[in-house]
Amino acid sequence: MSSTLRLRKVLIANRGEIARRIIRACRRLGVASAAVYSDADEGAPHVRDADEAVAIGRAPARQSYLSIDAVLDAARRVGADAIHPGYGFLSENWRFAQACRDAGLTFVGPSPEAIRLMGDKIEARRLMAAAGVPVLPGSEGPVHDAAEAERVAAHVGYPVLLKAAGGGGGIGMARVDGVAGLATAYATARRRAEAAFGDPALYVERYAERARHVEVQVFGDGQGRVVHLHERECSLQRRHQKLVEESPAPGLPSRTKDGLTGAAVAGARAIGYANAGTMEFLVDAAGDFWFLEMNARLQVEHPVTEEVTGLDLVIAQLRVAAGEPLPWGQEEIAQEGAAIECRVYAEDPAKGFLPSPGTISALVLPEGEGIRVECGVAAGSVVSVHYDPLLLKLVARAGTRAEAIAGMEGALAACVVEGVKTTIPFLRRVMAHPDFRRGAVHTQMVEQGAFNA
């Protein structure tokens, strides 16, 4: 692979495992890497890995990793010519992408315009419907009051979801089972949406019961060329945050798979999408599917796609951001074998996944054939209250799904994290569960207690 990338130095505006993952990709391309860190992350693994590192502020994310000014200032200080935002933090903030562009820096991701369009969930729904992507029955735009929400709900049928126009990830979302609960849920969801996104606007969608969350990795060049890298099954979630992901999605009918990938490509092409993105869908028991939202960034679970395709998404992100054409044609992107990812969070699954901050007193990471570990912490690391609780990701790849599950069971058994509670015991129960083993999963399983001890 040539290392004549137009970029010379990439600033990574993130922390933890994803910062380390991006630094690794930079190194493989022969590009210098610069890390940023808050007071809480001095000496963190991602800081040690990078070629250089800049302190950007205090521990609370708003005063460091979420500060556009602090990050841009760090980029200027180190002479970076590009910024990779990772996921979370500023990655889907169109103002940040615009500020990078205005400062003459290459933003490793989609255009500010695409981030803005996909961040407006009502606009995204409308654009996707116009591109022929199926969307759930619901309101055309924002509903103006509880009475209008009630009219839409009566039309599409209960249960319905009230969703925030201003942002995704399940925040400000409320399920309503009948007309009796609607007014209260509407008021609460509006308040939460206002607090989280500064925009109280809500829209209404039919709620799909026992559905699966299946998403498609797409990659565009911004000129209308878009390829997909197949699907990921991500149904096992708590609080709308994923715990286990895999590719391929087990038991997906080929008609559904073709429909999903076709819709994902058509949707991304319709907005002239550039770089890596993910189209999220719900799939019901009949194999019908609907667009949920588009994540205009690299996903946490991108490794399962890399493992089954043999392609490096972060290297491709850097190349395309540097102005190179898409590194692969659609016909070169094959999905072979099976890969599963388990997210090890500092949370206590026995207490409803309550956060478990603390100091990691001991850490043993598994290794072996087909096992990949993406880890953001080390023994002695302080797991702070200020950031996402993701500690590390375990990925198992094999020729078949059953072998990948066996590999993951071994990896989970060998993985030791002491000093904080983790999701490892929960993940071991998932791998052993008969429904998971036969691929019969849906998005409410975790909260319904299917994997409780």
Partner: protein, 71 residues
């Protein structure tokens, strides 16, 4: 008899919901903690009147710290 309401996790005080003199029921949130991007309410263990709030918004509390006192 006064009773301490203790934080069940470590976090930063995100919001103070109840104020001295307020009547609360068992399970009502007294304060909301933010930890690892999650908002976690600290609830009253029983019905009663709030006597005292011992924390301020933005303050870090450790698991087991008293955050409020019931009459």
């Amino acid at each position: 008899m006064p009773e301490d309401i203790k934080a069940h996790i470590t976090g930063v005080v995100f919001q103070i919901v109840a104020h001295p003199g307020d009547r609360v029921d068992a399970g009502d949130p007294v304060i909301v903690l933010e930890s690892m991007k999650m908002e976690i309410p600290v609830e009253s263990p029983r019905p009663g009147a709030v006597k005292e709030i011992r924390v301020q918004e933005g303050q870090t509390v450790q698991e087991g710290d008293t955050v409020a006192v019931l009459e």
